[in-house]
């Protein structure tokens, strides 16, 4: 049996990430939606252009803050200034203490770690499209597709969809898409062959 390129176990029991003293929740569709809604530069391609200098660190802290809470808790806190204030205060204290603890502390290391976190949870199996469309691309938001399929096909609740690791949602979407013949997920042997082909093409 061909070896899979990824482990579903990783998606069910993902790695834990602690950044700036905050234990982050697995990055989820809910986090993505919130960060995107707030135009957070750490999720966009044109981050350099979008970031206003003074708000750079605030944006990063907001990223951490959002990813440290569930989707619903975030909404509650954004609606309750006192609660938000108390929690941010506590976080700030921990953040400062964390800086004191680590002699090599610098913001780069934290941002690298956050990138690693995002990359880990947005990892997707390699696949090929079985019936590539020749028509114009659909305008449907990919998140809508994911949400709708997770809800109507898998029967997950809104909370489950918005808070489960995005990695898991991707993996399960792949199963669904492969089952209905839209895509074909690559296995390890195929990847080795493909990489060998690529190398040969480069040499030529």
């Amino acid at each position: 049996m061909a070896q899979p390129l990824f482990s579903y176990g990783d998606a069910i029991n993902p790695k834990e990430f602690t950044i700036c003293s905050l234990v982050l929740k697995p990055f989820s569709l809910g986090h993505y939606i919130l960060l995107e809604q707030f135009d957070n530069p750490f999720l966009t391609d044109n981050a350099n252009a979008a970031v206003e200098a003074e708000s750079g660190i605030y944006q990063f802290i907001l990223c951490l803050w959002i990813c440290g809470n569930t989707y619903e808790d975030n909404l509650v806190m954004f609606d309750d200034n006192d609660l938000l204030h108390r929690n941010i205060d506590a976080f700030c204290q921990h953040y400062l203490e964390e800086m004191k603890r680590d002699a090599d502390w610098n913001i780069y290391a934290q941002i690298f770690r956050f990138r690693e976190y995002i990359a880990y949870f947005t990892d997707m199996p390699a696949f090929q499209v079985e019936h590539k469309s020749t028509s114009m691309p659909s305008g449907i938001d990919w998140k809508q597709n994911l949400f709708t399929i997770a809800k109507s096909e898998f029967g997950y609740t809104d909370t489950a969809i918005l808070n489960m690791p995005l990695k898991r949602l991707f993996y399960e979407w792949c199963s669904f898409a492969e089952k209905n013949g839209s895509i074909r997920v690559q296995n390890a042997d195929e990847m080795i062959m493909l990489n060998a082909l690529k190398d040969r093409r480069k040499q030529i």
Partner: protein
């Protein structure tokens, strides 16, 4: 993902409805958080967080640059070494030891030590590398030479010594035969580029130069701030002697024949005006009627407007900014003083006279000042023996045996603070009065602030670092020019000049912080994976 067609089976109307609800929720929250980002978030997140973030990153870039220069490697390679050290569970400082050993062994080998020369040869280091290579190049060569060759352990032992052999082997294993440069490139996602580190280090150096120039000018200012804190504390405690000695007035001084309130009214605010133009900040500039410290019964006769309150708080924040950005100790003193100003502003914010009296007597000043959180801050500045003494005194005050098995100072501080918190407000004050002998004056905050200032790199050359700080009053009197009487206090002139200058400097400094932030964001913003928002990997 748009290219992939989905066939959605079953009834999807419920899913669409749910999604619409999610979108609505996010939209509502989004509008709110946008406001937070524009203003509220900045209020929620303490400026100290941002300042400390910048400071630590600037210092990190500087230390990487210096270490890289010492080892003869690039900043990227230096970070690579640090990364490898962390991954192999070693302290980054150990790298320096390894390099020192390596350099020393190479020198000996070149100087004729045949055994060492043979070891280098066995590890694949050429004569040319040995003679002309930097330690970084030698390390790269050794890393390549030892990859998958555990039998070369004895050669490593010869060069690095028995204490370091395991650490070096672990590093060599981590490098997997790669050179430093190759390893750094292989881990580029966690390494800041050479030019970026250099730019950041230079920017930080410039900021520090500005800070030093501010700090030198701030010497009298720092003393004044400390004096203000002491003044407020003395006002709080009713210990007039504190103020008297502070300004070197003798008992016959006409100024201090009057009540303490008059003393405060005439001296403290004018000093404050010399510091950060507090005169303007608090009274609005032209108005010399110091509402918050007018005289006698009218001392608490007027409340600050919201605007003035914010301005006063702003002054305190400005001090705080310097406090965070400065070189450690100096700024603790300034920061403490800044808190003092903030506390005063807090009291004045109270609406009614009754509320103000309550604030002075039982409320914010006591709970936020020396007798409250301030006490904890003071504990943080004491030596272990002093904390222990305080702890034992507290035990007596509470009528309990205060034997502590705590051996480290933090535990002792925590225990002492806990005990202190159990005292009533009046007992706290009594306790502080009784124990002033420990620190030669009630104005402990001022003392330790002064100690910090004296101990600092910036001020030591001027003040004479290491001078005993058992009585900061004498120190304050040394050069600050206090004691001339309120009407002719030369510090007013200093303040007139420095107040504006310092404010401008701080504005400039803030701009530099913004530039640094921009640098950091630019350096790290790119490369954030966003694969899910674009096309998935399709082969």
């Amino acid at each position: 993902m748009n290219d992939v067609k989905f066939r959605i089976t079953g009834d999807s109307s419920g899913a669409i409805r749910s999604l619409n609800e999610v979108r609505r929720g996010v939209r509502e929250a989004g509008a709110d958080i946008q406001q937070h980002l524009q203003g509220k978030l900045k209020e929620l997140i303490a400026p100290a967080i941002i300042e400390e973030t910048i400071r630590r990153t600037g210092e990190w870039a500087t230390s990487i640059t210096k270490a890289a220069q010492e080892l003869g490697v690039s900043a990227e390679e230096m970070q690579g070494l640090g990364l490898a050290a962390k991954r192999t569970g070693q302290d980054t400082a150990k790298i320096m030891t390894y390099y020192e050993k390596l350099e020393s062994a190479a020198l000996k080998a070149v100087g004729g030590n045949a055994k060492l020369a043979q070891s280098f040869k066995n590890l694949g280091v050429t004569q040319d590398q040995l003679k002309h290579g930097t330690p970084g190049e030698l390390f790269s060569a050794i890393s390549r030479g030892t990859a998958d060759h555990p039998e070369k352990g004895k050669d490593l032992l010869e060069i690095f010594g028995s204490k370091n052999i395991l650490g070096v082997q672990a590093l060599a294993k981590e490098f997997k035969g790669q050179s430093l440069d190759e390893y750094a490139k292989d881990n580029s996602s966690q390494i800041v580029g050479n030019q970026d580190v250099k730019d950041l280090a230079v920017a930080w150096e410039h900021t520090m130069e500005d800070l030093k120039s501010i700090a030198i000018k701030m010497i009298p200012v720092a003393k004044m701030l400390l004096a203000i804190v002491d003044g407020v504390l003395s006002q709080l405690s009713g210990l007039l002697s504190g103020i008297k000695h502070l300004f070197k007035f003798d008992d016959e001084s006409t100024l201090f024949k009057a009540s303490w309130a008059r003393g405060i009214a005439n001296v403290i605010p004018q000093m404050a005006s010399g510091v950060f133009n507090l005169k303007n900040l608090v009274t609005g500039g032209k108005d010399k009627d110091w509402k918050w410290v007018k005289s006698g019964k009218e001392v608490y006769g007027g409340a600050l407007s919201d605007e003035k309150y914010r301005e006063a708080q702003g002054a305190a924040d400005a001090v705080g900014t310097l406090a965070t950005l400065g070189i450690g100790p100096i700024t603790k003193g300034l920061g403490l003083a800044g808190k003092g100003i903030g506390t005063v502003a807090g009291i004045e914010k109270a609406g009614t006279i009754g509320a103000k009296m309550a604030a002075i007597g039982e409320g914010s000043l006591l709970t936020e000042g020396l007798a409250g959180k301030g006490f904890q801050a003071v504990l943080g500045r004491l030596e272990q023996s002093q904390v222990k003494k305080l702890y034992e005194s507290l035990g007596k005050e509470l009528g309990v045996t205060a034997e502590s098995g705590a051996t480290d100072i933090e535990a002792l501080q925590s225990l002492t603070n806990e005990k202190f918190a159990t005292l009533s407000t009046s007992k706290r004050l009594d306790f502080l009065k009784k124990n002033t002998g420990l620190f030669a004056g009630l104005g402990m905050a001022g003392i330790f602030g002064q100690k910090d200032v004296q101990g600092s790199d910036l001020f030591s050359s001027v003040l004479g670092g290491g001078k005993s700080t058992t009585d900061r009053r004498g120190n304050i009197n040394l050069t600050s020019g206090f004691g001339e009487g309120a009407g002719s206090n030369p510090n007013l002139k200093i303040g007139g000049v420095f107040g504006v200058d310092v404010s401008l400097k701080i504005l400039t400094l803030n701009q530099k912080m913004v530039d640094l932030l921009q640098q950091i964001v630019i350096n790290t913003g790119a490369g954030i994976p966003s694969t899910v928002d674009t096309e998935p990997r399709i082969f």
